[in-house]
Symmetry: C2
Subunit: 617 residues, 2 copies
């Protein structure tokens, strides 16, 4: 391809709103332009790289036996009502009414469309496992789209879904997908951090996210220096001082020498900081008690304190019954934060948030700041593991300006048991905590999620009534997995990881072209040599951009660096006049160039490029 | 690919709403399923064929130097407001408001998005001509989607756009695109009829549609038996009895012997039929006068009868001024129909339709049925060429129950001249009319449009203010072309043209697989031979579907026929036991099979397939 025909409008200026390297460079190197906030046009050079990422993903999906299909982008709202997500998806889902007043959704994800397609075709266990995927347009109506395609409104996602007769089969596919994802990112030249992730309320038993480290990442990763443990903070656990947790009886026994619980006056002392100052002690000595409001709770609460009169509802006919709104008290050591994602998971709730002040006052009979676990009967108390080791603590006394001292877990209070567990892990892990696997020290990184694999379980097959007949002719419901990769984000992350001051440094696997040929002046013998070399390389399957422009060499070199083509060949009269004729080759990732016989250039470059491509396999 | 892993749910039943072959067969052969009315999921087999059509289109676009880009599917409404099409596009365009109350459009076409992308990058004449395309999702909110993907709501379109310094350059690209389109359809195995098409009010000077003959086509094609003239009826012209048209003076002279015009009582006679019966004569003797309402008229009407007080408006700041609503009278020979597309084109109106009865009464001072060209001063009169030869006609007298006889064009009335022309071609051509090119007889076919190439002119570059600097540093506006192909429709048309009672008969170029191998029983030596042959063929670049299912041979043969794979190889114990071992090969398009040495099968099939593929080039 001749540069002059390739429509590569490079820019010297950095777009004002581009704060990260990939955003800046995708604009400057002429890969991308903005149509509107969060909506972008890929220009030819950008689309070439984009298609290579797509191709790598497609090859690896095909290799694990996933079959590509293509549902529509605009899908009927009915399907989302069936699954119950029409209501639960929130405002980021773009809803449309057509002229006939039918509801449609511009797909943010496609569990519904795939499940609906499979539902009508699935009859026998012999069809399972079934793995289907698409690489297709998605839309999420971000309130604040930014960072270029890293957080755009419209994007391309590879989303795969699988259906299985049992957990073992699901796990096999889940593991195979995990391996495919590792290969995909490796082939793109990306260093990803696979982390354990929250599997939410989906009934799934596993979830792994593929993260790249990023200063603007919207995920906190918890990593162990010693054993390689890696998890999203939403999911991460750590070893605390009381692992394994004592039983309620053991805790009670441990409190034998603790003085009896005693009320103390704490006038106008509401926050932990004020209390620490007032009592001259550390937050670790306090039991913090917070009141949470949980939405759509699947837990059975028939025996829970204060819940006798709550009514269950069904969001859709086949979905499990839920309590639309429940309040819980949560007790945790005073220096720690509650992890709301963990809490929601424990409660099997679709969402949790701190209760409003009026609700706190109503439920604790005290102003905000004086909630405590002792004597709390109006709502279920959830106890974090860290509280199980506290047998001489300060905590709120459920009355204005009053706290307790000498409060002891097991003796003075205990938690409401969830599935037999009287304490649970709901703390937010932080840097410096101890690894639960190896005792090493944990640290944090910020990460951007490129991919996510997920055991969904029966959520969609149950809600949308998907069945098959097993070997005995009995009707069964398949279990399900889902597996997503953001293609745009993956491409942008390649640039984040591979660039320098001068521009992009493409890995050969994703490069829009492998070689850029820069004739000093595209004329006479130089033109002839450049055309011949282009021909030779093209014949060898190498993708060549020939800079045929009538520009100064400096301009051409700058554009070659900016656009990041892995190999540059410079052809000039001086080199050609030598015997044998010489050209200069330079790898974009290296500093120095070297001269090479013109007639050896094609085979040398072809070798180097296939060497690099193989290194990713 | 093993059949058992390929998810090809074939059906014996025909879907109830499938009235055309492609719709029936895409469902029955497991290529497609329905998500909702007009929304479909391509299953793996269908998507493979679909991608081949895409690839052919992509190759031919690349070959004419068009560059692929990828704008978003959801585009800002602002762009459509700039072009003026936000208002003019009608209800088939899906409009969406997002959570921030911004307007968006789910793209039905992309003149705006492409022009907006180019506008910011275009600076010099050296960048022109510029040809860009996408193959991407489109949405049109059809009121009555039907015929499967032939008229769906969401579909994939290849749409290309080009920008040029002058008409010559535009014409070169237009011609090259026309040639590329012919190659594309040929490579898909399609017989298309390129027809002259209406270029509407776009200011363009050329437009060609690529049609396939179809019983359910929504276009009437006018074709000449003798010279090959082909046009959409919207555009088609014919030679009438008065070509060339007489001047007004000549017509006046020709009426010298006609008696003076004379009023006749025609009580309660309103229609042409009633009038024919009443006067005992043929419709050819009448001048039919119809009142039309035209919307957004670009013509200069400052000197037109009854238009002195009309006001012009600008739909967008850079668009030309238009009259929002104008009424016209149209005179045509009584046996003919007015072609509204031609009329709109002549009037430079975005739309024309028959005026409401109340408007007719107000403008003609008479009930409906008595309009006539004589003495009509309240609105401009447009005269069809056929009227110019009428010098003794019957026509309405602008009063209840009154007609004129002996009315003569030139003597008793004349048309309002548009650009100096006192008569124009606005008749609908019909079968049996005379070819304007060669005098042959015209006939009609129904056709479905697969592609359309179009000289757009300055409509969008003017409205959206696109400029470049010419060789003299002067600001100029580029002229534009656009070129579309419906990918889904093209695929469905391949099936329409290539099928029989038993199923699809894919051309090798579009076939999801080239060869289906059917082992009589996939076991033992047969399995080994089938696996080996699959390996050999795959190595030779042939795409193989291996029917490994434990089904009766009859079921496998039926599915092989239904799915239409071009070559079938049957392997059984009997053939293998011969020396040398024999297999049976059969071309799907032929009736008979033949036996062939197993060890020659791979090379024979590879030869036959590449022979067929080359035949399309």
């Amino acid at each position: 391809m001749n540069y002059s025909s390739a429509f590569i409008p490079t820019l010297r200026e950095v777009p004002a709103d581009a704060v990260i390297a990939s955003h800046r460079l995708m604009f400057r190197a002429g890969l991308l332009r903005k149509l509107a906030n969060g909506l972008f046009t890929y220009l030819p050079l950008g689309l070439r790289a984009f298609r290579k990422v797509e191709r790598i993903i497609r090859e690896e999906m095909d290799a694990v036996g996933a079959l590509e299909i293509k549902p529509t982008v605009v899908v009927p709202g009915e399907l989302w009502k069936e699954s119950g997500r029409w209501d639960s998806m929130g405002d980021s889902m773009l809803r449309v009414k057509n002229r006939l007043d039918n509801d449609f959704v511009v797909s943010p994800t496609a569990e519904e469309a795939f499940t609906a397609t499979v539902r009508d075709e699935l009859s026998s266990y012999r069809q399972l496992p079934l793995k289907l995927y698409q690489i297709n347009t998605k839309f999420r109506d971000e309130i604040r789209p930014r960072y270029g395609v890293m957080r755009g409104r419209e994007f391309i996602m590879k989303d795969a879904y699988s259906w299985h007769t049992d957990d073992k089969s699901l796990d096999e596919t889940y593991q195979a997908m995990g391996r495919a994802y590792r290969r995909i990112f490796k082939r793109c030249g990306l260093s990803v951090i696979p982390v354990k992730a929250d599997s939410g309320t989906m009934g799934g038993s596993g979830s792994e996210e593929f993260m790249v480290e990023s200063e603007i990442g919207d995920n906190t990763l918890i990593l162990c220096k010693k054993c390689g443990y890696a998890a999203n903070v939403e999911k991460a656990s750590c070893k605390d001082d009381f692992t394994p947790q004592p039983s309620v009886e053991a805790a009670k026994a441990a409190a034998a020498n603790t003085p009896s619980i005693e009320k103390i006056d704490t006038p106008n002392v509401k926050t932990i900081e004020e209390l620490c100052a007032f009592l001259k002690t550390a937050p670790q000595s306090f039991i913090k008690t917070l009141i949470y409001r949980a939405v759509n709770v699947e837990l059975d609460l028939s025996s829970a304190p204060g819940c006798a009169n709550l009514e269950q509802k069904k969001p859709s006919p086949d979905a499990p019954a839920v309590y639309p709104q429940v309040f819980f008290a949560v007790a945790i050591r005073g220096d720690l934060d509650v992890n709301e994602v963990k809490l929601a998971s424990v409660l099997k709730a679709s969402e949790v948030s701190l209760a409003a002040d009026t609700d706190v006052t109503r439920l604790t009979n005290a102003p905000v700041g004086f909630a405590g676990p002792v004597g709390l009967a109006s709502l279920p108390l959830i106890v974090d593991h860290t509280v199980t080791g506290m047998n001489d603590a300060v905590t709120g006394a459920l009355a204005k300006d009053l706290h307790y001292k000498h409060a002891a877990y097991g003796r003075d209070f205990e938690g409401w048991a969830i599935a037999g567990l009287t304490s649970v892990d709901i703390r937010t892990v932080k840097a410096g905590d101890t690894c639960s696997q190896c005792g090493g020290e944990l640290y944090t990184k910020m990460g951007n999620e490129l991919g996510h694999i997920f055991k969904l379980g029966y959520k969609y097959t149950r809600a949308m009534n998907v069945t098959y007949l097993d070997e005995n002719g009995k009707t069964q419901m398949p279990t399900m997995g889902c597996y997503g990769i953001g293609v745009d984000r993956t491409l942008a992350s390649v640039i984040e990881e591979h660039h320098d001051e001068a521009g992009i440094i493409w890995p050969a696997s994703v490069a829009p072209y492998h070689v850029i040929i820069v004739p000093i002046k595209y004329d006479g013998a130089v033109k002839e040599a450049a055309d011949n070399l282009t021909g030779e390389l093209t014949k060898a399957g190498i993708e060549v951009l020939l800079d045929d422009r009538n520009e100064r060499p400096g301009v051409k070199f700058n554009d070659a660096d900016l656009t990041g083509i892995p190999w540059r060949v410079v052809i000039g009269d001086k080199g050609l006049s030598q015997s044998p004729a010489q050209v200069e080759i330079k790898r974009r990732s290296e500093k120095d160039n070297r001269t090479i016989d013109l007639d050896r250039a094609a085979s040398e470059l072809a070798d180097k490029i296939s060497e690099e491509l193989e290194s990713y396999l």
